[in-house]
Point group: C2
Chain length 721, copies 2
C-alpha cells in the first residue's frame, strides 16, 4: 500500500505531531530512535532510492527488522515503500540472507556475507539481477536486524546511500548490560528511577517498555542482559523468579538478546538447605547441575551467570577454603552442557590486606591464570579501583594470557554526577580500550585483549553497568542516553571513535542538524575532562561523599575500612599529595608491562592526568608548565567549573533548535551541575589547602564558604543506595 504525503500537509503534520505530543513529560522516551522528519531534499532523495522493499521475512527477528525499517522510513521521510517480490528498475531496497533470498544468493554482492559471521551485516549499493539496488545483507536474521538499524542510522545522518559499501561484524561476541537491580525494584547506584522489571506482575503482565528496551539495545548491538544486582539475592534462582525471567527472555529473544542472571554463590545453602556451598563438594555440584538444568527448562537459551564472590561481603568459594577458579569452574561445569557461560568478577579487595587496593585483584587472579574452564570469562573493571572519573587501565588486562578476560564499564554515573551531570562517557570508554598494555609488545591495546585477538579465546565479552530505570527518558539525564548508546557502539567495535559515536547520537536524537551538532559535539567531548577536573584532577581518585557517593568528601577518614576512606587515596599532608604506586611506594606499577611502567614511573614524564595516581609529590613540585603542583591542582579545579559554565552557554544557544521540554530539562540540570561542580571545587581546594598552606592562585577566585560549611552538609535519601 502506498501512502503519499501532499507536501503542504507537512507543516500541518509537524504542528499536529508537536501538538499531540504536548505533554511535556513525554520527551526522551524514543531515545535515538525518534525518527523525526528529515529535510525535504533528503526526503525526496530517499523516497526515490527506497521506493520499493524486497524483504521476505522468515521469523520474528527479521519481521521486527522490517517493521523497524517501515516505521523509520515513515517517520523520516513520510513514505512507506511498496513491498515487492522482484527488484524494480530502480529504487529497490533488498534485505535478507542467502537463505531468505535464494534467487539472488549467487549475485556478486552476496559474496560479502562470508565475512559477516553470525551477527554481522553489510549495506551496499549494488547491481542485483542487472538492476541498481540498495542491499542490507547478513548471514542470519539477527544480522539483518543489526543491519536494518545501521541502515536507519545512515538515514538519520542524512548519509548518501547512492554509494554505500559497509561490512561490519562485531569484534566482541557477548555485549551485555548489567543491571544492578534488586528484587524490590530499587537500583543500586541507579539514578534513573527504579528497576524496569515489574517482578510482581511478571510473568503475566509484559510491560510494553520491555519491548522498547529490547529495541533500544538491539539498535546498538547489545545482545545480552543480566537482570539482577551482582549483590545478588538467591531468590532470583527460584521457580517463582525463573518464570518471570523467562517472560522477559521471551520478549527479548526476537531482538537477539539473551538473559543472564547474577547468581549468589551460597544459593545451595539458602535455597537447597545444603550445609555448605563448597565447590568441590559433590552435593554442591549436583545442586548446581540440577539448578542449571531447571533454569534451562524455563529459558532454553539462557546466557549464564554473572558472579560477584568474596568481594564486599558477598559469599564465595573462599568461604570454603577454595579459589576463585574452583568457584567459577563449579558453575561453568554446570552450564557447559547447555552452552552457558560464567562471568566471574575480579573486583576483589580486602581491607584486611595491608596491600594497596589497586594491586589486590591482580595479586588474587594472576596466579589463577590458565585454571579457569573454557566457558569462564573473568570480568574486570576498566581500572583497578572502582570506576573513578579517571583510572589507568586495569593491570589484569594482558596479564592473564591463558584466560579469557572481559571488560566491565560503568554506564551509570556513580562517581560522575549521577543523572544530574552531563558527562559523555564515550571518551572514557575509548581511552581505556585504546590504552596499550604492551602485553605482546606495542599495539596490545585493551581492546585487543578483550576482543580475543591476542589470546584467540573463543568467548569474548564486554559489559556495561546500566544506567536505565523507570524514568520516562530511561536514563534520568537526557544526555545519559548517549552513554548507553556509546557503550553499545563501542561494544560492537571497541576501536570506534568516540567523537563519531557522539556525532551519530546527536543526529539520531536531535535530528540531522549541522549547526546543533557542531555546537554540541565539542561540548560532549569536553564534558568528561570537565568532570575529572572539578572532582578529581591530576590522577586524584575516590574523594566522594561517604556511602551515597554524592558530592565531595575529601575529608572522609576514620571509617572501619581504610580503603573506603578518601584519605587513603589522596594521602594529603604537609609534605604533599598523591598515592605513590612506584617502587618507592606500593609498586602497583610493577603489575604493568615495562613499557607502561616507563610511561608512568618518572613524575617529570608521567602524563599529568595520572600524576597523583602513581606519585606522592610535594605541593611545590614543578609541573612541566612551570606551575607548582598546588597551582596546577587549583587551576584544574577552576577550569572544570569554568567548562561547565561554557557548556551552559553552548546549550543556551540551542534554544529553539531542540524540543522545548528537553531544552528546559538540560538547562536546569546544567545549572545544578554548575552548583555541584562549584561545591566539589571549593570543598576540595579548601580541604587540600589545609595541607598545602598555599594561596589559591591569583585570578581564580575564592570559595564562598569556609571548609566547615561543606564538611557539615548532610544529604538525605540520596538515590542509588
Amino acid at each position: 500500500m502506498k501512502i503519499r504525503i501532499i507536501s503542504h500537509c507537512l507543516p500541518l503534520l509537524c504542528a499536529l505531531i508537536l501538538g499531540i505530543g504536548q505533554s511535556r513529560g513525554q520527551s526522551g522516551y524514543h531515545l535515538w530512535l525518534d525518527y523525526k522528519p528529515l529535510r525535504d531534499e533528503l526526503s525526496v532523495s530517499y523516497k526515490t532510492q527506497l521506493a520499493a522493499l524486497l524483504f521476505p521475512t522468515t521469523d520474528g527477528t527479521d519481521s521486527i527488522a522490517k517493521q523497524e525499517l517501515l516505521d523509520a522510513f515513515n517517520g523520516l521521510f513520510g513514505q512507506v515503500p511498496e513491498q515487492v517480490d522482484a527488484i524494480r528498475q530502480q529504487g529497490t531496497l533488498v534485505v535478507g540472507t542467502p537463505s531468505s533470498l535464494p534467487a539472488m544468493a549467487q549475485e556478486t554482492v552476496f559474496s560479502h556475507v562470508a565475512q559477516m559471521g553470525p551477527e554481522g551485516y553489510g549495506i551496499y549499493t549494488a547491481t542485483i539481477q542487472g538492476k541498481p539496488a540498495t542491499a542490507i545483507l547478513a548471514n542470519t536474521s539477527k544480522g539483518v536486524l543489526y543491519g536494518a538499524y545501521a541502515f536507519i542510522r545512515l538515514l538519520q545522518r542524512g548519509a548518501d546511500i547512492a554509494k554505500v559499501d559497509i561490512t561490519s561484524r562485531p569484534k566482541v561476541n557477548l555485549r551485555l548490560l548489567n543491571h544492578w537491580d534488586n528484587l524490590d525494584r530499587t537500583v543500586e547506584r541507579g539514578y534513573a528511577g527504579f528497576s524496569l522489571w515489574d517482578w510482581h506482575r511478571l510473568p503475566g503482565y509484559r510491560d510494553p517498555r520491555y519491548t522498547d528496551y529490547a529495541r533500544a539495545n538491539a539498535s546498538i548491538g547489545i545482545n545480552g542482559t543480566v537482570l539482577n544486582n551482582v549483590n545478588a539475592n538467591a531468590l532470583v534462582l527460584t521457580p517463582a523468579y525463573l518464570e518471570k525471567a523467562a517472560a522477559l527472555a521471551d520478549v527479548f529473544r526476537p531482538y537477539g538478546i539473551k538473559v543472564y542472571l547474577s547468581a549468589r554463590f551460597s544459593a545451595p545453602m539458602e535455597l537447597g538447605g545444603l550445609p555448605n556451598a563448597d565447590p568441590l563438594d559433590p552435593n554442591v555440584k549436583q545442586w548446581w547441575k540440577e539448578k542449571v538444568a531447571e533454569i534451562y527448562r524455563y529459558i532454553p537459551d539462557f546466557g549464564g551467570f554473572l558472579v560477584k564472590a568474596n568481594s564486599e561481603g558477598q559469599p564465595g568459594p573462599q568461604n570454603h577454603g577454595r579459589s576463585h577458579a574452583d568457584g567459577a569452574n563449579l558453575l561453568a561445569d554446570a552450564l557447559k552442557p547447555h552452552g552457558g557461560v560464567v562471568m566471574w568478577r575480579a573486583f576483589v579487595y580486602e581491607d584486611t590486606e595491608p596491600e594497596d587496593r589497586a594491586k589486590q585483584a591482580y595479586n588474587e587472579f594472576v596466579p589463577l591464570d590458565g585454571l579457569f574452564h573454557d566457558n569462564v570469562i573473568v570480568q574486570v573493571k576498566n581500572g583497578p579501583i572502582d570506576f573513578q572519573p579517571r583510572e589507568p587501565f586495569h593491570p589484569l588486562f594482558g596479564a592473564m594470557p591463558k584466560s579469557q578476560l572481559m571488560m566491565e564499564f560503568q554506564i551509570t554515573q556513580e562517581y560522575l554526577g549521577f543523572a544530574t551531570h552531563l558527562v559523555y562517557l564515550g571518551t572514557l570508554f575509548s581511552e581505556t580500550l585504546r590504552a596499550d598494555t604492551y602485553c605482546n609488545g606495542p599495539n596490545s591495546s585493551v581492546a585487543r585483549v578483550i576482543d580475543g585477538s591476542l589470546t584467540g579465546q573463543p568467548v569474548t565479552a564486554i559489559a556495561g553497568v546500566a544506567n536505565t530505570g523507570t524514568a520516562i527518558n530511561w536514563t534520568g539525564h537526557p544526555f545519559a542516553q548517549a552513554n548507553w548508546y556509546a557503550f553499545g557502539r563501542l561494544a560492537w567495535d571497541p576501536d570506534a571513535d568516540a567523537g563519531d559515536i557522539a556525532d551519530d547520537w546527536l543526529r539520531c536524537t536531535f535530528g540531522n542538524d549541522g549547526p546543533l551538532v557542531h555546537a554540541l559535539l565539542p561540548m560532549m567531548m569536553q564534558s568528561r575532562e570537565a568532570a575529572v577536573n572539578y572532582m578529581t584532577p591530576l590522577g586524584l581518585h575516590h574523594l566522594m561523599g561517604w556511602d551515597h557517593h554524592y558530592g565531595p568528601g575529601p575529608w572522609i577518614s576514620g571509617k572501619p575500612r581504610a580503603d573506603w576512606t578518601s584519605v587513603y587515596y589522596h594521602k594529603a599532608s604537609k609534605d604533599g599529595i598523591g598515592f605513590d604506586r612506584t617502587a618507592s611506594g606500593s609498586d602497583a606499577l610493577s603489575q604493568y608491562f615495562p613499557e607502561v611502567r616507563a610511561l608512568f614511573e618518572n613524575p617529570q614524564e608521567c602524563p599529568e592526568e595520572y600524576l597523583l595516581w602513581f606519585h606522592h609529590l610535594p605541593w611545590d613540585f614543578q609541573m612541566r608548565s612551570g606551575e607548582t603542583l598546588w597551582e596546577a591542582l587549583c587551576r584544574r579545579y577552576y577550569d572544570g567549573v569554568a567548562t561547565v559554565g561554557r557548556m551552559q552557554a553552548t546549550w543556551e544557544g540551542q534554544k529553539g533548535r531542540v524540543n522545548e521540554a528537553v531544552f528546559n530539562e538540560v538547562r536546569d540540570l546544567l545549572a545544578i551541575q554548575y552548583q555541584e561542580a562549584v561545591r566539589w571545587r571549593d570543598a576540595c581546594v579548601l580541604y587540600f589547602q589545609q595541607f598545602s598552606g598555599m594561596p589559591i592562585p591569583d585570578g581564580l577566585g575564592h570559595p564562598e564558604h569556609p571548609l566547615e560549611y561543606y564538611e557539615k552538609m548532610e544529604f538525605h535519601f540520596v538515590p542509588g543506595i
Copy 2:
C-alpha cells in the same frame, strides 16, 4: 494563523501518528487528555462553531487554559481557531471573566457568574453583542481553567455545543490527593512504580511530569495535593525539603493546585531539639509558630498540614497526655494567620482497647465535637475499618455536627487488587457519598455532611489516597486511571453519577466510540462488585494476606495485634461466621442514627452486602433467596470469578477498537486478575468450609488445590510496603 487539513490527509495523519507512536510503552501517558481526532462529521461541525477564539489572557492560569483549548481543538478536529478581538458573525468562542471581558460584562449571559463562586464556570450558547457565540465564563481565571477542561470534555464526548447551558460550581472546597510517598521515593501502598517527586534533583530540576500531573488534576478539578506520606518523616519540614516543595508548588500554582504536607507531630523534638511536643507547652507552640511562618516564606499559599497522630505508632498529642483537639488546635493556631488548614485524621484504633476496632474512632472523636478550632477539619475514612472492598459508611459522618468533617477515600487499590485488577471505584465512592446518615432526618447523605450543607461549615474537603507513581501510564493499570478521574469528578460534585463519570472517562480516554463505550461501561460498573464477591462477599472484610495485603489470607491469626488478623473480623467457627455488631455483640450499630440501625439490625432484613459486617450467623442461616448462608457465600465467590471471565470476553471484543498496546496490557492484566480471583475464591471457600462442614453447591466447581497449597504460598518483595 489558520491551518486547514486536506481531508485525504487524515488517514495518513493517523498512520503517521500511530507510526510515530510505535514505541509501545508510550500508551496511557496522556490519560483522559489524549485529544484523538474525532469523526469527520463532528469535526466539521466543531470547526464551524469554534472557528474564532476571543480569549484575552490575564495571567498564567488563563494562559494555560487557552493553550489547552488550542491543543485540544488541534488534536480533536485539526483546527486551531483564529484569535480575534471582536465576536464574529458566527462561530466565535468567547472565554473569560467579567474583568477580562469588560466590554461584554453587561451581556445577559454574564449574569450567570453570580452563581459560580471562585472556582465555578459556565458554558453557554448565547447571543453576545447581538451575535451567536459559545461562551466559557467564570469569575476567576481558575474558574476559566476548569471551564476550559469541561468544555474540552464536551467535545471529546461529541456533545452538541449548539445549545449548551451549563453552570457548575464545586460543592466541596478543598479537593485533594494524598500521596503516601516516602522521601526515599517508595510509595506506601503504591503499585504504580515509585514516587513522582524526584527529591534529589529538586528544586533545580523540574521534571516535566510535574506539569502533566498538574494538568491532569486541574482537568478534574483537584486543587490540592499532600506531597508526603501520613506516616510522615519530619525532615520534610526542614529547609532542604521546603525548597523542594516550593519548587513543586511553583509548578502547580498556575493550575490552581496548592501544596500541603504531612506533618509529624513530634517534629519539635526531632527537628527543634525540644524535650517534648506537648501542644500546651508554650515552647512547642512557639516552635510551630516559627516553623509555619518559615514554611510560608517558602510557599506563600501553602495549604496546610495533614496529620496522622496516635495511630499505628505515629506520635501525637496523646503521648503528652493531651487530646486530638489539643494537637489539632496547636497546629491550626500556627496556620491560622497564614490562611492554612489542618486536616486531622480520625483513623485511630488501639489493640490495647478491647473494643471493636470499628467503634474506636467514633468513641475517641465524638467527645471532642465542637472543640476543634475553625481551620481544623477532621479527616475520616469512608468506613470504620480500613478501605475494605465494601464497608458501611463511617459512623462519624453526621455524628459531629459542631465540627468540620471531610472524606478520605482510597484510590490506590491496597485491598482491591493493586494495579493488577480492573476495579472501577466510582461506584464505591458514590455508594458512600449517597449513603444516608439520617443525622438530620432523611436526605442527610454523607455527601451532605461533607459538602457543608448540614453544618454550614466554612471549610469543606475531600481527599483521595493517590494511585499515581512513576509508571508511564501514571497508575499502573490503564483502568486505574478511571479511579483517579472519578475521584476528581466526585470531589467536584459528590452527587454525580458514577456511570456518567465512567462514560465520560471512556470517551475521553478511548475516543468517542459508541460501541466501545456500550461494551465497557457495564464492565466497569460491575467490576467493583465482582471484586467484593471474589474477595469479601456478604459483608466480610479484612481477609487479605499479612502485611503486604496481597492475595487471600483468611487464616491469618496469632499476630501481636488481634485487630490486624483476619480471624478477628470473620470469626468463622463451627457455629457460624461474621462479626456481630448489633446489641448482642459489639453494638457498633448503636453509633449510627436510629433509621440506619433499623436498616441493618435485623439479619432477615439487613441488605445482604452488609450481612456479615453486622451479624454473626450460622452456616445454615436462611437467606431471602432460600439458600443457606454457606451456599450464598459460595455462590458469590464463584460469581465474582465468573464476572472476571465475562470481563475478559468483553475486553477481547474490543480488539482493534483500542490502541494495540493498551489492548494487550489490559488483556494480560485481566488474565492475571482471573487467576488471582480464582485463588481468592478457592482459598477462602476451602478455609471457611473447614467450619461450615458443608459441600460447595453443585454446579459451581471445586478448587484445584487443597487449602494447604494456598496457606503455604509465599510472596517476596510485594510492592507497596
